[in-house]
Symmetry: C2
């Protein structure tokens, strides 16, 4: 594989840097953070700015992400085949289970939420489309981990954060859990990321049986669980939805 284009990689690094820091960053901060000459960083930022990927506060001169990214992110969703086919099934699943439904795909070292159906007749919720969830402590993540060797491999590269006392942080435990998930065909995560929240997830695969994403329901542990285990009826609903989406992906195509 021939070398990547230097200026592009650097521009991507700048965008990620701006996305990471909560506040706006100045030119010098960007340059020193990435070990770039100020002039170089400025050239890249100027180009990113006039393309709309970056905006500059006219008063302070500091930089932040630009609106074009939002527009392109929306376009990504528009052409996302998995998401398009899953929309109706996700709605059905939310209605049948009475819980929040997430649809996620593997991205970098986490799960990127590409669709989110609010829990029916619930209080106000924030849309989480576009945000990342951890791999090792959510039902979505563990499903993908169990079926995607690449994701499992990359998991060993960094330490695992313990979000709650129930989070699995030992790689051996996770491998055992993944084996169980593959055996029974679904994953759960009970208070492993957020206290009081349990989720049930199942795999979505394309017509070649490749894992392409996962669907889950997530809700208060009192509703989702019973005697310490997730309710079988909810598991059946999630698996049925995952199968339906997989079938849908396999069938139609232009």
């Amino acid at each position: 594989m021939p070398g990547p284009i230097q200026s592009l990689s650097r521009a991507a690094a700048i965008l990620r840097l701006l996305a990471g820091g909560e506040r706006r960053l100045g030119l010098s901060e960007v340059a020193t953070s990435l070990d770039l000459a100020k002039g170089t960083a400025h050239g890249i930022l100027r180009t990113l700015q006039q393309e709309g990927f970056v905006e500059q506060d006219p008063e302070t001169g500091k930089y932040q992400l630009g609106a074009e990214l939002l527009r392109l992110g929306q376009s990504y969703l528009d052409v996302h085949e998995l998401r398009a086919r899953a929309l109706v099934w996700a709605d059905d699943l939310a209605r049948a289970s009475g819980e929040t439904v997430y649809l996620g795909v593997l991205h970098q070292r986490g799960v990127l939420i590409v669709h989110h159906v609010f829990r029916p007749d619930d209080t106000r919720q924030v849309l989480e489309v576009g945000s990342m969830h951890p791999l090792h402590s959510t039902a979505l993540g563990k499903v993908l981990l169990a079926y995607d060797p690449v994701a499992r491999g990359e998991l060993g590269e960094g330490p695992l954060e313990a979000h709650t006392p129930r989070t699995l942080t030992d790689l051996g435990d996770i491998d055992a859990e993944c084996a169980l998930i593959r055996e029974r065909g679904w994953a759960d995560a009970i208070e492993e990321t957020w206290e009081g929240v349990a989720s049930i997830g199942a795999l979505i695969q394309d017509r070649r049986r490749n894992p392409v994403g996962a669907v889950c329901i997530s809700g208060a542990v009192e509703r989702v669980c019973e005697d310490g285990f997730v309710r079988p009826q909810l598991v059946a609903s999630v698996r049925s939805a995952a199968r339906a989406i997989s079938r849908d992906l396999g069938a139609g195509r232009f």
Copy 2:
């Protein structure tokens, strides 16, 4: 202004091209569309791919936008100051008016929706955050047009599309409408973009009185209007929300 970075501009053009076409595009299509050598386009696409901005269908080899764009777009929303401060006011406005609320900012030659509150107790709706609305035929757009000379200037560069019979397509008419909007402090658009839909919008400005965005309500013309005019009480609600957000922007700061 020294020249922009060529490879970056080309990469941005490729991303926009991929965002525009509904379907996935092949390497050759990209190269010919942008008058690039195949090798050049391939190098850029390969870099964009390993940065996550572009994904490649492993079967057909065709390219589409990547998940990283969705993540960065979400990050854009997270740091968006106007949006953050407007969230609660938008909720209030939706509750008070009973209609859908949009929050938009100027972007390129349209209005980019950065926040969207569903109409209370309504049927299923699709979230429009990240999508673009026209400048000359929506309340949001006309407000921004009336107060932003740059936007007005760029409007004259291209033809104006008539979405309905009521769309204003003559620049003179639009200037007159803008003068009226400035005079009374709010804008409306009654079936100018979609049949049966009317909207009322007002300007949001920062502490320097610069226009930074607009807020509007949008709903069925039968509810929003009365005897062919928008209902004064709704106008008052929208203007009040816009003032509140503007005040909020002017006051606090980190």
